[in-house]
């Protein structure tokens, strides 16, 4: 394949928007248990705005797509998820080096830059019961699979599996960041809503790239 092009990235974002819309009430339900009951509604509003700009003004290259996605999320989501998901995409933009299609290692490096941005913005460590607990193992799995010579589609599938495991592992964790941290011990036993939406993001990337390779 010729790397991940703008069309594949658009498919990724549209697939993520569709799964957020489908899981909107479930995400809000998870947030009601340990937060403030708005994660699904906020992410759905943000991703609907992303789809609207993709329809209206399709971006010219991956960097423009990431930048516009990040700015749209920051502007439309609010709460903590807006700056966090917004920063993820804003930091991916310069990591593309302006390429029209991203080689697997460049795509992985861009995602890593995005995760570093999330960690810097949110100051969360792995194990704090946040979206980092889905994203960090996912990117580790992605790097490992690429290093072992797997295709990008296979590596993203491994990343999606790791993200889902990471998401599940947030359930017994004690929240140390965000509103859930105010609950202390009472946050234990609930799956983290941010890790849940982050796992959807990685799964959407795996399906978008699988589609590109199949095409």
């Amino acid at each position: 394949m010729a790397g991940v092009d703008t069309d594949a990235l658009q498919r990724w974002l549209r697939a993520f928007a569709a799964s957020v819309a489908a899981e909107k009430d479930a995400l809000t339900g998870l947030d009601a248990a340990i937060g403030d009951a708005d994660h699904g509604a906020n992410m759905d509003r943000g991703m609907a705005a992303v789809v609207a700009f993709l329809d209206a003004t399709p971006p010219a290259d991956p960097a423009a797509l990431f930048k516009q996605t990040g700015m749209t999320l920051v502007k439309s989501v609010g709460g903590a998820s807006g700056p966090l998901y917004g920063t993820l995409f804003l930091r991916m933009a310069p990591a593309t080096g302006g390429a029209a299609a991203l080689e697997p290692d460049v795509f992985a490096k861009a995602l890593r830059a995005g995760l570093d941005g999330v960690v810097a913005r949110g100051k969360a460590e792995p194990g704090d019961k946040t979206m980092v607990d889905a994203l960090a193992p996912a990117l580790d799995a992605l790097d490992a699979a690429l290093a072992a010579g797997e295709s990008l589609a296979a590596a993203l599938r491994a990343a999606a599996d790791a993200a889902e495991r990471g998401r599940d592992e947030t359930t017994p964790m004690l929240a140390r960041k965000g509103r859930a941290s105010y609950l202390g011990e009472r946050s234990i036993g609930h799956q983290d809503p941010g890790a849940t939406s982050a796992a959807l993001l990685v799964a959407a990337a795996a399906s978008a790239v699988a589609d590109q390779e199949a095409a």
Partner: protein, 333 residues
């Protein structure tokens, strides 16, 4: 759910239209959801910006005006406003002396205000400083969590710093003063009932008739622990004890005592609570010299109260007494 609504999705926008009609002394940018005092920017004065999710009325917009804030950004119900709003407001209240962001310590608010300061630095030459308010003693282990929440102290901080800004003090002097007032304040709240977020339509948490939540925040998030309903006398103790255990409130000019209603608790009950709180302070040798009783930082239709205590030095006391003209607080002018 039984509420005065048209469509829950329009609640914030329609409420802002009402604020505009009721308060011609404010100017409202509906598109960006920013409320300004009509004469902003005030030349030569440091601009004071705060804001947060809606649902805490009269906070935050009720504290815009001479002697307090210059502008407020309104978010969706219980959702932080976004950096673009804050950056736009920052630009429009800079009277040439810089802008101070007074930020309530919640993860989303802090991150959005951080990004707003970065945007403002990239796009303008406005000097911006930020002070985070975090007075809630219910959050233990604050080094390992998102930290203590900003609750009742904001009223003291915004009033006192607002008066100091009117005197023409510099941006860094005001930031120092804001930190001192915040450091001198501690708060603890409790809920008798949950609140109902209109977009969700059902109570955020289930609280049986005979139980209460101790150590709540202001967004309907549950508290640290749930205990059986008991007398106001004992509830006052559960709120005041951790406050006094956390800081020394003796000395200075005395304290400012704030008994805040969470939205659905009658003033009659709040004054009863003030009596209980004041009696506990008497016993501890702490002298209340200023008071505020009523719903100022609410959590929609939650019933319950929050007790906030601020130790005042002579500067803070004079600034508290200085004139203020806002929808929420008004005296001396």
């Amino acid at each position: 759910m039984k509420k005065l609504l048209n469509d829950p999705a329009d609640l914030v926008a329609e409420s802002l239209r009402g604020v505009e009609r009721a308060h011609p002394e404010l100017r409202i940018d509906h598109e960006n959801r920013i409320l300004y005092r009509a004469d902003a920017p005030v030349s030569g004065k440091v601009g004071l910006l705060s804001g947060g999710g809606s649902g805490h009325e009269p906070a935050h917009a009720g504290f815009i005006g001479p002697g307090m804030l210059d502008a407020v950004c309104a978010g969706e119900v219980f959702t932080s406003p976004v950096p673009d709003q804050m950056a736009e407001a920052t630009k429009n209240i800079d009277g040439g002396a810089g802008v101070l962001h007074l930020v309530w310590n919640y993860t989303g608010d802090v991150m959005n205000f951080d990004m707003a300061a970065e945007l403002a630095a990239a796009e303008t030459d406005t000097e911006v400083q930020a002070v985070v308010m975090n007075d809630d003693v219910a959050v233990e282990d604050s080094l390992f969590t998102a930290g203590r929440r900003g609750t009742g102290a904001a009223i003291a901080v915004e009033k006192i710093v607002g008066a100091a800004a009117d005197q023409g003090r510099s941006l860094s002097e005001l930031a120092d003063l804001a930190r001192r007032v915040n450091d001198s304040s501690r708060s603890m709240g409790m809920a008798l009932t949950s609140c109902t977020v209109p977009a969700k339509g059902t109570p955020t948490f289930d609280l049986p008739e005979d139980e209460i939540e101790i150590g709540i925040g202001i967004h309907g998030e549950p508290g640290r622990r749930r205990v059986p309903l008991t007398s106001a006398h004992e509830i006052a103790q559960m709120l005041v004890d951790p406050i006094l255990a956390d800081r020394d409130f003796t000395g200075g000019e005395g304290v400012f005592v704030f008994v805040n209603g969470m939205g659905a608790t009658p003033q009659l009950e709040l004054y009863l609570m003030y009596n209980e709180v004041a009696a506990l302070l008497d016993k501890a040798g702490i002298v209340p010299v200023r008071s505020l009783v009523g719903p100022y930082v609410t959590s929609l239709d939650m019933a319950g109260c929050l007790v906030s205590i601020t130790r005042l030095d002579d500067d803070m006391l004079r600034l508290w007494d200085a004139p203020v003209a806002t929808a929420g607080l008004r005296w001396g002018m």
